[in-house]
Every structure is written in C-alpha cells, then in structure tokens.
C-alpha cells in the first residue's frame, strides 16, 4: 500500500505492507534513522515522534493508519537554518544525554511538553518525561535540561 506522510514538512511516500510499523517506515523506508527503537512494545519511549504535534509511540502505530498526516521526528526539530531548537541546545548544555539512544524520544516528548506548559514544576517535568526510559543519565540532567529549555524558549520568544 502506498503510504504518504508529511515528515518534517516534506511529503514523503513509500509502498509498504499494512503491518509496517511507523517506526520502521520512518527508519527503513524513509531512511530517517534518528527515531530509535528500544522495545517495540510501547514502554521505553525511544521511538516517540510527534503526530500532528502530539507525542506518540511510532512502534505502536502502523504507518498505513496515519497515511496523510504530519509527523515530526528528531531530524525536524532544528530550525530551517540548522540551528538546534532550544530543547536540543538545553540538552547539550546540561549534559542530558550520554549514549544518545533514548534522546530523540525525549526531545520529541519535551518539545510537546513545553509547548503545552511553558513553565512546568519539577514534579510536572518528571511526570511529563515519565514515559521515556533512559539507562544512562539517571534523568537528573534531563530534568535540568527541560527547565533550561523552558528558560531559553521564554528568553527567545
């Protein structure tokens, strides 16, 4: 079946069987390998992308189901001129990543979190990222980065 999505603002299509997971569609059919796959049962959050702006698990979505819709992946978070988004910059500044495998999922989740709540409390941040596993950082610097990103967004808007 032909599946066409608008990915990071660009219309992209490929012919795939109905069982193709959105995660595999992005990674293998569209060669956007920034979205990672850590469990394929919806718990780790590595595969989180934005579907029409809302974070979803791309491993728990068939590509064919979301035919015609808009997807943003980690490759689409930076500005058009290549400058990293405030969330990306905050992650770098706060050392919020180590191996980097879970990071794309966190970036997508945090981007949506801060859009909906520009000044979250510590508790809201921890709950807001609680659908994403990280095995390296112990989360402390991720939490710090979310607060820092909130500050950067506020400064720049």
């Amino acid at each position: 079946m032909l599946v066409t999505l608008t990915v990071n603002g660009v219309r992209r299509g490929a012919s795939v069987p109905p069982r193709r997971l959105l995660s595999d569609f992005l990674r293998h059919d569209l060669a956007l390998t920034g979205t990672h796959v850590g469990c394929e049962h919806g718990v780790c959050g590595c595969c989180t992308v934005l579907l029409d702006g809302e974070p979803v698990r791309s491993c728990l979505t068939f590509a064919v189901t979301v035919d015609g819709r808009e997807v943003t992946t980690v490759e689409g978070l930076a500005r058009a001129d290549g400058e990293m988004s405030p969330v990306q910059r905050a992650f770098a500044e706060c050392h919020a990543l180590q191996c980097g495998f879970c990071t794309p999922g966190f970036l997508c989740a945090v981007t949506a979190l801060l859009r909906d709540d520009p000044a979250p409390s510590e508790r809201q941040v921890r709950e807001g990222i609680s659908g994403n596993l990280c095995r390296c950082t112990g989360y402390q610097n991720i939490v710090k980065a979310v607060h820092r990103a909130a500050d950067l967004i506020a400064e720049e808007s």
Partner: protein, 285 residues
C-alpha cells in the same frame, strides 16, 4: 518483534465498518488506538487474519458531555477526554483515573473505548465504568445498536460481552448525582504502570451531609473490576469496616510484582483513602 502479516480493511463509515467486522468474524481484530493490540501483534501473541482499522471511520471521534453523563466515541483518544473541561465537570472520575493511565504518549493514541474492550483486570477505565455503572454501546450488522451495562460487559480477564461481529461504538459514563464526590487511588510499581491494586470510589451525601451511598470498584484484584457497595459501613462512619468488607470480596492473585496478601491489604488501604477523598469532595460539591 514485528507483527505477523494480516489482511487489512480501513472502512470510512460505520456501516462499512460493521460489514467488514461481520465479514472477517472471529478471525478479525478491530484496530483503534492500538496501544494494547499492537504490542500483542509485535510479540506475535495475536495473529488476526484481518485487521479492521477504524481510524478513518467518520463520526466515531465524539465526546459529548451532557446533563446525563459523558459519551465517548470509539475513536476518542484518552488524552482528549483527560483534557476536556466539559467532561471533567460532568464526570470528574474520568480525569482522575485517566491521569493514572500509562503515559502521555500512550494516552495520545489510546482510546477510552479500546481500554474498556481490552478489559485488562488491572486497568483503571474498566473500574471507572463499573463503579459508575456506565455502559458500552455495541453495534453489529445483525443486531443493530444496543447498550450493555458495565456489570454485564466485563465477563473475565480480557473478556467482554461483545461478539465477534460487534463494534463498540461508544461508552457512556453517567453524570454524578448532586452532592457526590469521586476519587481514584492506586498503587503501581512505577508511575504509569498498571496498578497493583486500585480503587475508584463514588460517595453521595444527603442534603444533611449524612451519607446516602458509597460504592467502590477495585482494579487489579480479580478477573473483572469488583464493585462493592459500602453504604452501610461508610454510612456508619466506619471506613475501616468498609475496607474490611471490600477485602473480603476481592480475589487477588500473586504475580511477579506483588503477592495476593499484599494486594488484599492494599485494597483496604486504598478503599479508606479513596472513600475519604470522595467524601471530602462530596461535601464540597
């Protein structure tokens, strides 16, 4: 962990969906949010011949909150219900419970009706439907539409009173009577996990602020949500007695996360906490 091959149908209106479901029968699976079905497919624990994907069916993504209650369409995502002020005003227990369902990214795709139909005994939403004695509206080509009350809908772990030809098109959560408060308390291992035990409570006060009715539904401690009327105990002001009654009614089991004795103990604690909070809210209502 890739899903097995399956036939695929993507109807665009309800009539076609019902026809597709009838056509594929036992060998079919309905796909809505997919947050329970797709993990099973990825693990190859389910291998339907055909998946009927209802995500494009018009008219199923409804959410109406009226004086009688909240009706949630089959495609309405949990996140939308959670955020709806109208739904929260009519039936606050929905939001109280939805905040405990998995994580935001799951709630963005997962549907309320899907969670009811999946009927995981540890899930929050079946307990909500049960304690409110709401209903699920089923539709099929042969039988048309019919409402099944919660007490008849949940028949066993992951089992509901819906035939292979049925599509659950909506669920109805009745509004609260006046002077009524609700609460949902649970203990889970990690934030967002299925509850080791959970209690949904509904408490209604009389005009003189005496207790008129108190009811709880328990999750994670039996094959289906277990509803217990504790009006007598709570009416006498004895929440510990209410907890005792509830403990006697449940059928908890051991699993990798907790022992049955602990779950039985926990249900008592959660019953007292949920009743206390629901009573406070009823008094404020």
């Amino acid at each position: 962990m890739k899903p097995p091959p399956f036939g695929y149908r993507a109807p665009r209106e309800v009539g076609q969906a019902l026809a597709d479901i009838a056509a594929v029968g036992e060998d079919g699976k309905v796909l809505a949010g997919g947050q329970s079905l797709i993990p099973l497919l990825n693990m190859r624990l389910a291998a339907p011949g055909t998946v009927v994907d209802i995500n494009r069916v018009a008219g199923l993504d409804t959410l109406t909150a009226g004086p009688d209650g909240v009706r949630v369409g089959a495609l309405t995502r949990q996140a939308r219900v959670e955020r709806s002020e109208e739904a929260a005003a009519v039936q606050p227990l929905l939001r109280q419970a939805l905040r405990l369902v998995a994580h935001p990214a799951i709630r963005n795709r997962g549907t309320v009706v899907g969670s009811l139909v999946h009927a995981d005994p540890a899930a929050e939403l079946p307990a909500v439907l049960a304690v409110l004695d709401g209903s699920v509206r089923l539709a099929s080509v042969a039988d048309g539409e019919r409402d099944v009350p919660a007490r008849e809908f949940f028949t066993g772990p992951l089992e509901v009173a819906a035939g292979p030809d049925d599509l659950a098109v909506s669920a109805f959560f009745p509004a609260l009577p006046p002077r009524t408060g609700t609460a949902f308390h649970e203990v889970s291992r990690r934030h967002g996990d299925f509850a080791l035990a959970g209690v949904a409570a509904v408490v209604t006060m009389r005009a003189d602020l005496g207790l008129e009715e108190a009811r709880v539904a328990c999750a994670g401690v039996g094959p289906v949500p277990i509803v217990v009327d504790v009006t007598a105990e709570a009416g006498a002001g004895d929440r510990a007695a209410a907890a005792h009654t509830v403990r006697e009614r449940i059928e908890p089991e051991d699993d990798v996360h907790a022992g049955a004795a602990y779950r039985r103990h926990l249900i008592g604690v959660l019953t007292e906490r949920a009743l206390a909070e629901a009573s406070r809210r009823a008094a404020d209502a």
